[in-house]
Symmetry: C3
Subunit: 345 residues, 3 copies
């Protein structure tokens, strides 16, 4: 239970109030109590301070007069809040030992302070860096390499020869390095294309629960440094995800597509294969990305929900859109209006 | 192999026919044989009785004259059928013991009749109620609490401090309590927001295979009593799902969104974060829910499939819709028709 | 490291060049080096041969004069490439033994040369054919049957009574035979319909990582021979997928829908329940299939991404489409044009 002054020191922030004030936990602004720290990250939330009972609040210094109580001042209060969560982190800690009920093949190379939890299985030839933590029931395949301080959570599967950098987290039941979906159509059915390449993941990457990053056929699938990937995201074989790009839940990136740096791909976005997406592209939820995107910016697709009856009419009209456009052109022609560009369409 | 009279007694239904008639199994109306029970739940299916060979049929009493054979009468035949499936249930039963090849940490509190199957792992501080069944290879994290009669199927991962009520089923490879997707953007990349809260699941909840319910950052993610969730559903951190709501496969609910009671969310629906969805809202498949829904009712979005060539034209016109609307307004103006509301749009 | 002549013999292809030339690996045409084999599968890629440095290339014989170096000739070069990947396959091989840290119940029937890896669990009554390989931590439920040469990868869950044919691959963390999503709505909440049937998978089927095929309520869920299914695909209870159909990642097929043979279902397609899809139907990415498809061919739905501002206008207009169509009809009427079919709409 740190004191306010200790928190300020740890976060390297100016503060206001009693440095000895004990702070037990972090809480959201509406529910925080006298012994809890909260934060305001956007100006629009300032009115919530009026009813706040928090013991201390992380605030932008410009907002100092909006709050009488104890405060930590940051020009980037949301980042300060993110850092504060590390001080209050309550996740279980690794034991630093190989559990008797784990299976570690002979010849596995283990760094210092490695934890392997019960029922995990590490195959021959794997290399685990210092302080790597393999959770219960997780699997690390033959020859896989996992960098220092990386955590593989329970149930995750890291297939053979996959290489993962340092300080990554692979969340539960994620699957890294399963075969990409590659087949050649023949008269006798699908001929499997053995996926001979692997997956290479940089440093400081998070892969969400139940997500998959498939191994490449001939070229590796690459996740660059600092990428964050949410749950149930599919990354197809041979794809590349650029530095610090964020991909939200249930998005799917087809094979050989290359996404640039610092992109934000929202939930349920689907990308076709063999595309190139520029840096700093944002795609809205459920976006249907069927061709490359060469310019940074925000893009979206889809239609909004409507009450069912109205939607049925809209959806039906959608299938008549081309005809409607042609009728408009006819009318324009009759009225001597417009460019009548539809005639030759 | 129950007799017809026994079935009627167990289901508390009136019946017609020989009470000693042996019923071996349940089957659909078109395939049921002389020793099988079937059902008709909707009037439109009554003509299927003409060719039916079932040994007995669950029917609405109003339809009694449509079928000559043995019958069980219920004013809610589909519910009666659902209850009948319980009498014929053929799932394996729990052993009621801790398998020698399970890993149960010291200090775990176990209720009476708990089953822990091979290769499962229960961490320190976990509390399992009476008759809880932890399937093979499943994981129960530190301090997790699981209520009486709840079943955690093989491969499911219950993270630390998660609380699950009574009579729930967590299906295979589901993941409850993985970290929510929370980061603050900084000049040095994403700063992880440690997810300090947990997941709280009520009683009588089902969570489908490969689904994820993420733990909250500061506020718990809450699944209320009687909720049913299908496979590969994503429930983001801090979300709330109200009583008896049903969520179909591959739907995604973003963080902090609160869904009311008795909603039906169809497959592949996507919901943005921080929304409020009223009680009794139904969203059709692939619905794109980008803002709150305040009124109960049925909603849908999206467009229907068309043959590829036609669709290419529709999709192309979609991007010209605003221009088309303006051209209509111009025409109306020229013709002295309409409200010409587009001029200032 | 095979020689060119050996490769040609193994693939039953004509070749050009030194039969003793050593080939170390397969590589894509742009990166292949002197000791690597590559391929050109489509005419449009022929210009890439100009800068190619590959040791040998698989080519259509018609293109022989486009490349001076060593070559393997095939009229179906993509199939020849697929077959070549088998010669260079670098996946780990099964040990052919039951690992001491696997759990195999008494009475399980094992064929010859079966491999069961560490931490796997095989329940009573299961039957594994010859050379079956159960990966680490995988689960095979009571009475499940798995055909010769089938591989169940780490973490996959095969529930009770599921039947899988020969030469199948079930990729990591896939779940076969979890309960279908069936409930009857009652005044007291959802009444579960116990899923009494199972899943039957034919020969030569692949099921991707993190995919689910649910067991049927009364009728089995059926995956026919030669079907290929990518990652995170949901196949609902009682569905049927016809021979050699391919289903890409994150597609969802609802319960009781029957898909024909040789269909191609792209990523994130959603299909409602109880549909019938003809043979040879192709559905484009994110397709919204709400009714049966009776004719073979290519179908698509959805809208393309646009820059956010443009899209907001398009999406808004979509909700006004019916009104726009009526306004066009009014204009046509006023101008004495068109069929004015909208008046009675």
């Amino acid at each position: 239970m740190p004191a306010l002054g200790e928190l300020a020191a740890a976060l390297e922030l100016e503060f206001r109030g009693d440095p000895e004030r004990q702070i037990e936990a972090l809480a959201s602004i509406d529910s925080a109590t006298q012994d809890q720290l909260s934060f305001i990250s956007e100006k629009k939330h300032l009115p919530r301070l009026e009813k706040a009972a928090a013991g201390a609040v992380i605030l932008h210094p410009d907002w100092a007069d909006k709050w009488d109580g104890c405060a930590l001042f940051s020009t980037t209060p949301y980042i300060a809040y993110a850092r504060a969560t590390h001080l209050f982190d309550n996740h279980p800690r690794p034991s630093g030992r190989i559990h008797a009920q784990a299976t570690v093949a002979e010849g596995v190379r283990l760094g210092e302070g490695v934890t392997v939890d019960p029922r995990a299985c590490i195959e021959a030839g794997a290399v685990l860096g210092d302080r790597v933590w393999i959770g219960a029931g997780a699997y690390v395949g033959h020859g896989a390499q996992i960098g220092d301080d990386t955590v593989v959570k329970p149930g995750a599967v890291i297939c053979h020869a996959v290489r993962i950098g340092a300080r990554c987290t692979i969340h539960p039941n994620a699957t890294i390095g399963a075969d990409g979906f590659g087949y050649a159509a023949s008269a006798d059915g699908w001929v499997k294309i053995e996926q001979l390449a692997t997956v290479v993941i940089g440093d400081d990457v998070e892969i969400g629960a139940l997500s998959a990053v498939d191994r490449g056929a001939l070229d590796d699938t690459i996740i660059e440094d600092g990428v964050i990937i949410d749950n149930m995201v599919q990354i197809g074989h041979g794809a590349r995800v650029g530095q610090r790009t964020a991909i939200a839940s249930q998005a799917g990136i087809s094979g050989s597509t290359a996404i640039g740096a610092r992109c934000v791909i929202a939930g349920q976005v689907g990308m076709a294969g063999h595309l190139v997406i520029a840096d700093d592209v944002h795609i809205g939820g459920q976006g249907r990305v069927a061709s490359s995107v060469t310019e940074p910016g925000h893009y979206s697709s889809g239609t909004p929900i409507q009450p069912l009856r109205s939607w049925l009419r809209s959806a039906s009209r959608f299938t008549q859109l081309d005809q409607m456009a042609r009728r408009i052109a006819q009318l324009e022609k009759a009225a001597g209006l417009g460019e009548q560009e539809e005639e030759s369409a």
